[in-house]
């Protein structure tokens, strides 16, 4: 039988070819190269399914394919570092491949309706961007070492920049693109330093295998091994914490965690399918995925774990509160995205590896669904995104409404939609581990508080958009949408309803049904996987142990689920009371001063601008140094050379007899110098 793993590079390369085709020949192709992109992502999707099936058949794959520097470890640095490209396929990356290729495929199809049918120009550029993005993201997913991951991480960021700024002739998008690029780059700067630190410390950046850096770190902390280098006699645990936090910088930037979340709402300037693919379902997930990928490293350092959990919990609540007051459909979704990734970080920090991956999966589907639904509404509303101009779209856009509703129920965490299961498991993990750890408990409480807020803003959005009376002419007579919009919505809508079923842990625990926690078993290498990359292994080396409330495990499960579901219903009910009326009015004035703070996103943008200006002052100092000292030296050399050169020019008089004389004198001088030093004439 042919081995599916041999085709993993093809998964990455297919969208890359569609990028090349769209770039080179897109303008000659029908639909600006869209069909090439659809075919490529469909191919990647099918291959990914095959790869996942092979993993389910009990295999895994961890191969270095190409050494691009110092094969055999000669040449670079004192610690024999090899730089390579490779492929790592285990349950985690196989799952992620399926998610990314599926969402990318659906977004390509949706783009036919959103971009082509709307008569956008520059479509080859658009499809080229989508293709390159998909390829980069897939390359990141299959990366078998940290440096390769970093490179694709940066490519993903570049594509995000290109696509946010797609409408570069308008003032907003280029500015938003720059902001996204710079803010994420700020985080990536730490990431890059972290990559170098990992190389310096371990001499390798492999994710998996006995010689991988998580394994080496584990061994070194156990005392059964050692690392190549730590700076200046620093305690090993402290240093590993520092390295973990450095890499976390990139994660915080990409996954839009506090305080580097500010780029994501602005990124909504990009076309809506791009928001769905990049700024909700996949690229933003890259940060979380990276933590999951090197989870074996993070669990070794409790401080890093606590920081991750706390940042995650805080971001979840913080972003949710800002989502409450937004007027534009995509802005609400943007803040909900930040908030949901906060949940995933909370889960990872709390030791809930499976819970985080679970939420990553469900969120990818329901958030892509919501964005595409929003895109469908935006088409219908002729690109007006203000929810106060909508209303009553329910009867006019039934497919959009029902799928959007499914996504909203999932986002709000209402039983039995996908989001309920995953969010409940996150909160459960945070609770049982947090009972012994106050910092974690703080994260849990913030996550819990975010639940009603999430339900509130989600349904405020649903009611304002779809219920009540139409509040504008376009809302009374919206533009119909085609199959290429409805198709992807239907697929994702179904997934938003049923994805939760892959991991019904609460049901298993309460009813004692064995074997329905499929995702747990999947990530625990029950079918196939790589030694040292299983959830079980992480739990073994992790810092946490569980505590339970009254009634032991079952009681805790029930209490936790009931509390979070109750809070979600509370938020939903409040939203219904306030906004599910024929002519809703703004209630934000009741918030008083808080309203301004929320509208202005806690003034964080202003803070960052202020900080940037202070950095500019420092940079100004560096600039003075550069201009004055460095350039001064270089310019000095040049001005010396100019005057010196002028003299030489006079020497070159054009008279041959002078040349002969100078030549002879030069030779004689050389003779005298050598003769004198060598003592020939004595």
């Amino acid at each position: 039988m042919v081995n599916a793993f041999a085709y993993v590079p093809a998964i990455v390369l297919l969208p890359f070819f569609s990028f090349l085709v769209a770039l080179g020949a897109g303008r000659y192709l029908p639909k600006g190269g869209a069909f090439g992109g659809i075919a490529a992502t469909a191919g990647s999707f099918l291959l990914s399914i095959w790869v996942a099936a092979t993993v389910a058949g009990g295999q895994a794959y961890n191969e270095t394919l190409y050494y691009w520097a110092s094969e055999g470890g000669a040449g670079i640095g004192p610690t024999d570092i090899e730089l390579s490209f490779g492929v790592l396929i285990d349950p985690l990356s196989a799952l992620m491949l399926v998610i990314v290729t599926l969402v990318a495929l659906l977004v390509h199809v949706f783009s036919l309706g959103y971009m082509n049918d709307e008569g956008e120009t520059g479509l080859p550029r658009y499809y080229a961007g989508l293709g390159l993005f998909t390829a980069s993201m897939l390359g990141f997913v299959v990366a078998d070492n940290l440096l390769m991951a970093f490179m694709f991480f940066e490519l993903v960021g570049l594509c995000s920049y290109l696509l946010i700024g797609f409408h570069f002739r308008e003032p907003g998008p280029p500015s938003a693109a720059k902001k996204a690029f710079l803010v994420t780059r700020f985080g990536d700067y730490f990431f890059l330093v972290g990559v170098v630190a990992v190389f310096a410390t371990f001499g390798t950046a492999q994710f998996a295998g006995p010689e991988s850096f998580p394994a080496l770190a584990d061994a070194a902390l156990n005392g059964s091994g050692s690392v190549a280098w730590t700076p200046g006699g620093l305690d090993l645990g402290t240093w590993l914490t520092v390295v973990g936090l450095l890499v976390l910088g990139g994660v915080v930037g990409k996954s839009a965690q506090f305080p580097l979340h500010t780029w994501l709402p602005d990124a909504m300037e990009g076309p809506t399918p791009v928001s769905a693919l990049i700024h909700a379902a996949t690229m933003v997930a890259a940060g979380v995925y990276l933590v999951a990928r090197m989870y074996g490293f993070y669990v070794l350092t409790p401080t890093t774990m606590a920081v991750i959990a706390f940042v995650g919990g805080f971001t979840a609540l913080f972003a949710a509160t800002m989502g409450v007051v937004k007027d534009e459909l995509k802005q609400v979704l943007a803040y909900s995205t930040i908030s949901q990734y906060g949940y995933m970080m909370l889960a990872l920090g709390a030791g809930g590896y499976v819970a985080a991956v679970f939420h990553l999966t469900t969120h990818a589907f329901f958030k892509a669904l919501l964005f595409l639904g929003a895109g469908s509404v935006i088409i219908a509303m002729h690109h007006n995104e203000d929810m106060w101009d909508m209303g009553g779209l329910k009867s006019r856009l039934p497919v959009t409404y029902y799928t959007f509703l499914a996504g909203s129920l999932a986002l709000a965490g209402i039983f039995p939609f996908a989001g309920f299961w995953s969010k409940d498991e996150i909160l459960y993990e945070a609770l049982v581990h947090g009972l012994n750890d106050p910092l974690l408990l703080g994260g849990y409480l913030m996550g819990l508080l975010a639940v009603p807020v999430t339900a509130f803003y989600t349904f405020r959005m649903v009611f304002l958009t779809f219920h009540g009376e139409p509040r504008s002419d376009t809302a009374r007579d919206p533009e119909p949408v085609g199959w290429n919009v409805k198709g992807p919505l239907t697929v994702l809508g179904s997934l938003a309803v049923v994805t939760g079923l892959i991991n019904m842990v609460p049901v298993q625990k309460v009813l004692g049904l064995e074997g329905i926690d499929l995702l747990h078993r999947w990530l625990d290498n029950e079918w196939g996987g790589i030694e040292g990359l299983s959830s079980h292994h992480y739990a073994d080396i992790g810092p946490y142990n569980s505590g339970y409330l009254v009634g032991g495990e079952v009681g805790t499960v029930l209490v936790g689920a009931a509390v979070s579901l109750g809070l979600a219903l509370l938020g939903l009910g409040l939203a219904r009371r306030l906004y599910d009326v024929p002519s809703p009015t703004e209630h934000t004035a009741k918030l008083g001063g808080v309203k301004d703070v929320l509208y202005n996103n806690y003034y964080l943008d202003e803070l960052q601008v202020w900080l940037a200006h202070r950095t500019e002052d420092i940079a100004g100092g560096a600039d003075t140094f550069d201009q004055g000292i460095i350039d001064g030296v270089v310019n000095g050399v040049s001005s010396v050379s100019l005057t010196g050169g002028g003299r030489i020019r006079k020497l070159q008089s054009g008279v041959v007899s002078q040349y002969a004389a100078l030549l002879t004198f030069g030779l004689v001088a050389l003779l005298l110098v050598l003769g004198a030093t060598g003592g020939w004439f004595l």
């Binding site: 040049s638 050379s641 050169g645 041959v656 050389l670």
Partner: protein, 500 residues
Amino acid sequence: MVNGLPAVTALLPALLFAATGLTLLLVDTIRPDARSNTSMAVVGAIGSLAALAASVWLTASGAVNPDSGAVLLFADAIKVDTMALFFTAIFASVTALVLVAAHDYFHDHDNPAAFYSLVTFAATGMAILAVANSLAVVFVALEMVSLPSYVLVAYLKQNRGSVEAGLKYFLVGALSSAIFLFGISLVYAATGSLILSDIASASIEGLTGVLGVGIVMMIGGVAFKTASVPFHFWAPEAYEGAPAPVSAFLSSASKAAGFVVAFRVFTEAFPIEMAVAANIDWMLAFAILAAVTMTLGNFAAAVQEEVKRMLAYSSIGHAGYALIGVAALTVDGPANGTVMGAAMAHLLVYGFMNTGAFLFVAMAERWGVGRTFADYAGLWRRAPVASVAMAVFMFSLAGLPPFAGFFSKYFLFQAAIDNGFLWLAGLGAINSVVSLYYYSRVVKALFLDDPASPSALDAIDVRPTALYAAVVFAAVATVLLLPGFGPVIETAEAAASALF
């Protein structure tokens, strides 16, 4: 000789050059009025490429390599080794590029045929120079390179500049040849031999002064061929007055020919141990020459207003860098082979980038856009491909990554430092900074400056295909030598190490 071939097969590259030159000359003699510019260029280029292929084949097939030893012919007067073939490859590459480019440059010349045969004869001389193992052969080969060169510089007979440059070149060349020959005779007087290995083993008791003076005079001859101070005076004028393809040929191939003499004669005839024991420190002489040459060349280049003259001085500067290869040597130095190998590799890279740069100038002369930096303003709008190629040459000559010129210079300076010549490497680095200034002026003119008048670019009305091809090929080679630098430097270092 392995493979059962006769030993004389090792001379194949030189023989191919000679046969090509004779063929061209024969055709021109029989039918002097046939204006067969194209077929001449094609035949000449094919001959050069065949010589290139022959030298690569001889190295790659193992017929001649450091393990199997060199091939000695004609009572040891000829020695074919890897270094000789390495240099022959440089000569052949440059010759092929120049011949192809000349096709367009001489498109309206009355009698282009002699040009092709003269270039090929000069290349024959270089190929023989590379294998010369006796001072007599060295001198004859050197003259065989020089005499066609004088004619080539003056090839535009109607052009006063070209004729004047040819005459000056000839006069300085005659003086230098005399000095070189006198040096050889003094060496012979002191050692009683002309074969390099015999000179090395001869007893020189009481004749140190004679040998020393002879060696210094021979250094003078080498300095003339490599255009090093103080024998450089001919270079700016000859390069400027000569047809640009000839300038390319002289500044790349002819210069490399000078270096092959320096590398072989001085290491084999006057081994470092012997020289130091006899107090004849020729390495010091080369170090002084290297320092002065690179400084003078770069500083003078910085004040030029004409691109071709700037390239002439930059070519002197590069001679200074390459001289480090014979200057940064010590007794049992750990990096003796490395530093000379790096200099050889630099000459190879330089062969492409410098030839390409001069050929770009040839293209500008063909268009008739003018000679100064200002005349080149905004050229990229009409000639984007050639301008990008020129930018590659300039940045590579300046030694900026990621071009091949960066690596060769880096290895050269690194090896010099390894051998304890930090000052020489430091001086080279400072000179590189200076060079960046004037090289980037060209790029600035091409890409950033606006043309003096909107009609200034109208002169670009033809697309000289062959010139374009040669320039683009040189640019591609300059870029490809970056990934391909590993094998080049390894071959060069192996070849150089065999000399010590």
